[in-house]
Symmetry: C2
Subunit: 198 residues, 2 copies
Amino acid sequence: MDYYSNQISRLIEELSCLPGIGSKSAARLAFHLIHMPLEDVDRLASTMVEARKNVRYCKDCCTLTDQELCPICSNGKRDHKTIMVVENTRDLAAYEKIGKYDGVYHVLHGAISPMLGIGPEDIKLKELIERLQGEVEEVIIATNSSLEGETTAMYISKLIKPAGIKVSRIASGVPVGGDLEYIDEVTLLRALEGRTQL
Amino acid sequence: MDYYSNQISRLIEELSCLPGIGSKSAARLAFHLIHMPLEDVDRLASTMVEARKNVRYCKDCCTLTDQELCPICSNGKRDHKTIMVVENTRDLAAYEKIGKYDGVYHVLHGAISPMLGIGPEDIKLKELIERLQGEVEEVIIATNSSLEGETTAMYISKLIKPAGIKVSRIASGVPVGGDLEYIDEVTLLRALEGRTQL
């Protein structure tokens, strides 16, 4: 990129290392940043650094937060006896956006994947088991419906069930509004197996 | 976004103000940044601020650069008698990537648009006229093929021609590999008007 001066090239290069940002979007972003008021660029830069420095795992549920306890775990109105297990903080956010679940969460930060060499000890599973020493009535496993997510769900269920805690898995099937003819065979089979009586 | 802690919400919010980044990509970027090594986040943040602080217009061609003269204008091997006029620095980069043009550029930073209230005095046109006092043989107008780009091209051509300098416009027509049936009428008409003898 000799046609851009040094600092512009470096900015484009660093931006294009971010996920989902190719070289064209990186150039677009870089020129946008260069045209932004200096105070806005300063604020964005320090927000990035501050968030990186201060964000850690919630002491209870392991979600990412800048407090010792996340807003959900520190909320006395939530049902702390029901724990929904998700793969990451964005999955937690997906359920929170609906606003219909009033239990708490446990964030694994990954899923078991023998292919990628990610074992049970590489995700926040030990922390989940520790939480079960307290008063817990149900563990809802909401890992993704992928091979890794299913493997993780099976593993957790086998681990917890002997303790006499209710374990459930979110339903897998045809998405609402989905057109049967475009849905893959595995999903169709799951939808058939999981059918409910009317 | 109560389900994210304060600093994460703020980071997502600021990132989603950038062009082409919606709320989902912003969340993805934010969590990527939080998982990056602190030194990498620090470097990205300071690159942004430094670029914003140091980048200015090239004294000759008005492109964005961190030096007084951009790498192209300060290159003695380029043909300084041929000036290609483009709307912005990214358009300049598009031609530089091909590596076949050895003249210099002039970056307008915009195009004349009566609709948006952008007049000739709002773009770097005065600077172009000043450059023509020197030894210039040809001005190639490479503004976009949009209404604004065409208006600007016409305006510049009328302004320069009386000075006896050769003015040309890049060709407009069917893009290479383009399928005639999917191309708009105006482009088809342009291609017909601009036909060359074989």
